[in-house]
Amino acid sequence: MQAFLISLRSEFYKSRNTLSFWSAILLPLIICALIAEGFYVNSNKLAGMTGMMQWFRFSGAFLGVMGSLLLPMLVIFQTFSINNMEHRADMWKSLFALPLPKWSVYSSKFVYAVFLTALCLTLFASFIIAAAYLMNFFKPEFKFNQFDMSALLFKLHLKLFLASISIISLQFVFSLLWSDFIQCMGLGFLLTIFGIIVANLGWKYGYAIPYAQPMIAMNAVTKEIKIDGTQTIDFVLMTKEIYVSLAIGLAAFASGYFIIRKRSVN
């Protein structure tokens, strides 16, 4: 366990000045700033809405784009960057010649990739809330302070995170197999487009397609939440696409370990 934690610390040390780490912070910051600016400038269009509706309009602007395209693209980039550090330096041999258990080196990289996505989504939820209250402070026509969306927003992002575990794991394996960004990005992008089509078509077994799972998860939440104000606003976190996502994540994690053992000696 100690070797795993040391390896994890090393992952942070190696990536702390790279775009793979900073993208997890800058992406939510920049997107939040841009969308908040749009809402701030057009505040009159939201003036007639209730606080709850304003929250849904505001957070929906993020979640729609995140679930379909932005999150998979971010995951593709981050997983590639983490493994590419080792490919570029031809470091696998040296890492596995150190007195560290091989699994700890591998699993720390995987966990770090998962952590970056978790960090990014947590920051998204936090920045959305911060931006909403900030807008409310400067423009009283916003009614964000009349409805507490915090818990729901974090739960939504948690669901999005769990639904993206399968994509993280698969992209992680692709980036172990290929040191070429075009291959990882190309395949990831094609699968993302395929996922969007599957989710939009509403195919019965779409929940089993990894790249469709975040979007399907978000679609399910939209259908589940009643926004007439008469019921408690909530949704089920662990739906079948989430279970499948976790199962795929586990299988990809295990297969990645065998790939890396071979990769270390070539």
Binding site: S10, T18, M85, F96, A97
Partner: protein, 300 residues
């Protein structure tokens, strides 16, 4: 009782698919030696080093380091080894110092040790520069610094003087000799034979996966001195006389060259020349340089 051999392989064989790359290699690397591992490209040197680091596995449990089998004691053994495999593996987006910091973090080594290895490998002046901007020689020094960081008992170095200028090569040679004087063992593969000759105490010569020679440099010289060189006053007549008496004599650089068989025969040849009226000025067994010996051994 301390182990006589730091590295010992017992009839080690290894194949990639159907291609046999190592064929019953029995290495014996004495403690405190600088062992030069020589062989042409594709001979099996890097494969051997990878097996010694357990990057490749020998399923027969016939690889022993520090007297212990590597498959069963991987972490314990690796914690006593510093290695440089093929080209130095360095994160180009980090500085030299950060590369060392990262390795020290992984190995739980105090930061003051980083200052020590920076100093002994001579990378102090550019430790703050991004490693991606290093020359090949600088990278090589950083690679050696990374290998030295855990203060290992055994250093496995694959072509450590690659890319170094003559001064750098001399410094590394002195460093390795200093390390062995402190009781450490160095296993170094190299294709620069003159360099190995200057620093190695023992050599192993491998070709086509077979260990063709193994022993001390003195032993290598001993077995490969297989000619007699004779200096006489009339070289051509003396050579003809020896040919007429059934010897395989040749003339090279104003000397007669004959195959060596025994000291007794050397004495007989000397007597024969003197009795035939020739003045013998010198009778010797010329030493071959390592390159000649290497070529002779790998050719055969």
């Amino acid at each position: 009782m301390p182990n006589e051999f730091i590295i010992e392989t017992r009839k080690l064989s290894y194949s990639f698919a159907s291609q046999k790359v190592l064929n019953e290699v029995s290495l014996q690397v004495p403690s405190g030696s600088i062992y030069g591992f020589l062989g042409p490209n594709g001979a099996g040197k890097t494969t051997t080093i990878k097996i010694l680091l357990n990057l490749l596995r020998s399923d027969k449990n016939n690889v022993l380091l520090f007297g212990e089998e590597i498959n069963k004691n991987r972490l314990k053994i690796l914690s006593r080894i510093g290695a440089l495999v093929e080209q130095p593996a360095i994160y180009s987006h980090l500085t030299g110092r950060e590369n060392l910091n990262n390795r020290a973090m992984l190995l739980g080594i105090p930061k003051k040790r980083i200052d020590v290895v920076q100093n002994i490998t001579g990378i102090d002046d550019y430790a703050g520069k991004k490693a991606g901007k290093y020359s090949l020689g600088m990278k090589q020094r950083l690679g050696i610094a990374l290998a030295l960081l855990p203060d290992p008992e055994l250093l496995l170095l694959d072509e450590p003087t690659n890319g170094l200028d003559p001064n750098g090569i001399i410094e590394i040679r002195k460093l390795l000799q200093k390390l062995t004087s402190e009781g450490k063992t160095v296993f170094v593969s190299s294709h620069i034979l003159s360099e190995v000759e200057k620093m190695a105490t023992h050599v192993g010569i491998i070709n086509h996966g077979k260990l063709l020679f193994q022993g001390s440099i003195a032993h290598l010289h001993d077995i490969s001195i297989n000619t007699i060189s004779i200096e006489v006053n009339n070289v051509v007549d003396a050579a003809n006389m020896l040919l007429n008496k059934g010897y395989t004599a040749d003339i090279k650089n104003e000397s007669i060259i004959l195959p060596y068989s025994s000291q007794r025969e050397m004495s007989c040849i000397n007597k024969l020349l003197v009795d035939s009226g020739f003045s013998v000025f010198g009778l010797s067994r010329p030493k071959n340089d390592l390159e000649t010996m290497f070529l002779n051994i790998t050719k055969n």
